[in-house]
């Protein structure tokens, strides 16, 4: 598995359960690839921030008046 394939698998991990084969291949790649480990954390953060974005109570300064 190379980085392009790993990022595709990490993106699909957000959509469905990976097969055992995918999981093993991914784990082997992530063990030796810090940038893809960063990508995995960032994809999870994107989902969290989109949820926060959708429910954000305020985003400008008018509460100060």
């Amino acid at each position: 598995m190379n980085c392009h394939e790993a990022t595709r698998t990490l993106s699909e991990e957000q959509e469905r359960s990976l097969t055992l084969g995918e999981q093993v291949g991914l784990d082997v790649h992530l063990a030796v690839c810090p940038p893809c480990r960063s990508f995995r954390r960032q994809v999870a953060f994107l989902r969290e921030s989109m949820q926060a974005y959708a429910r954000r109570p305020n985003d400008d300064r008018d509460a100060s008046q």
Binding site: N2, S11, V43, F45, Y53, R55, P57, N58, D60, A63
Partner: protein
């Protein structure tokens, strides 16, 4: 201006917001743009936005100020779009899987599929503190606005309207593999944009 008598009143806050034509027009334009992208139908989009504004007037929302009003009315629109997309099944079943090739996006990966030096994701540390930073959200919104059409559409359906993958495939009429390719590209692009403009060493953070 807020007087002691009406401070804390959600009615007066909503009225303040709605009495500012510039605020309402900016909000309406943003909502129509979003609804049109999601529904691919200008008149359905106008209707959904209209209904969201009416729903916000009817609702007993407690919002303190414009931002909260904006969030409230956008939330109503989000639910209307989700309902509309769930009923507007374009195809009885998702299209047959097409094994279309998925070339790596330009500039991100070497020919052998490994990250290029410039594109390799950095360690963002703990990014959660940024969620409380108004400036971060402006960068975030700008990055979302720069996603190309199809990527923006399905990414927002997935992560903002919060439809499940099969619902998106039915509403848009694309295969699961098409959807996964678009979501993958959107995530690559969005994280790249955030790193370039916020989290990276080169980012011009205040």
């Amino acid at each position: 201006m807020t007087t002691p008598a009406d401070s804390g009143s959600s009615i007066s806050s909503a009225t303040d917001a709605l009495n500012d034509p510039q605020f309402v027009e900016d909000l309406r334009r943003r909502m129509v743009r979003f609804a049109t992208l999601q529904l691919s139908d200008a008149s359905l989009a106008e209707d959904a936005v209209q209904e969201a504004f009416i729903g916000a007037l009817r609702g007993s929302g407690s919002f303190a100020g414009r931002a909260a009003y904006r969030s409230w009315v956008f939330g109503i629109l989000r639910h209307k779009i989700a309902d509309q997309l769930r009923t507007q099944t374009r195809y009885a079943a998702a299209p047959v899987e097409d094994a279309e090739p998925d070339p790596a996006p330009d500039g991100l990966f070497e020919p052998d599929g490994h990250w290029t030096k410039e594109a390799a994701p950095a360690d963002w540390g703990d990014p959660h503190a940024s969620l409380r930073d108004d400036q971060f959200w402006r960068v975030f919104e700008a990055c979302l606005d720069h996603l190309p059409g199809q990527q923006a559409r399905v990414f927002m359906m997935r992560e903002f309207v919060e439809l499940e993958s099969p619902e998106i495939c039915r509403a848009v009429g694309i295969s699961t593999s098409n959807l996964n390719v678009s979501l993958h590209r959107a995530r690559l692009r969005l994280r790249g944009c955030l790193e370039q403009h916020w989290f990276g060493d080169e980012a011009a953070r205040p």
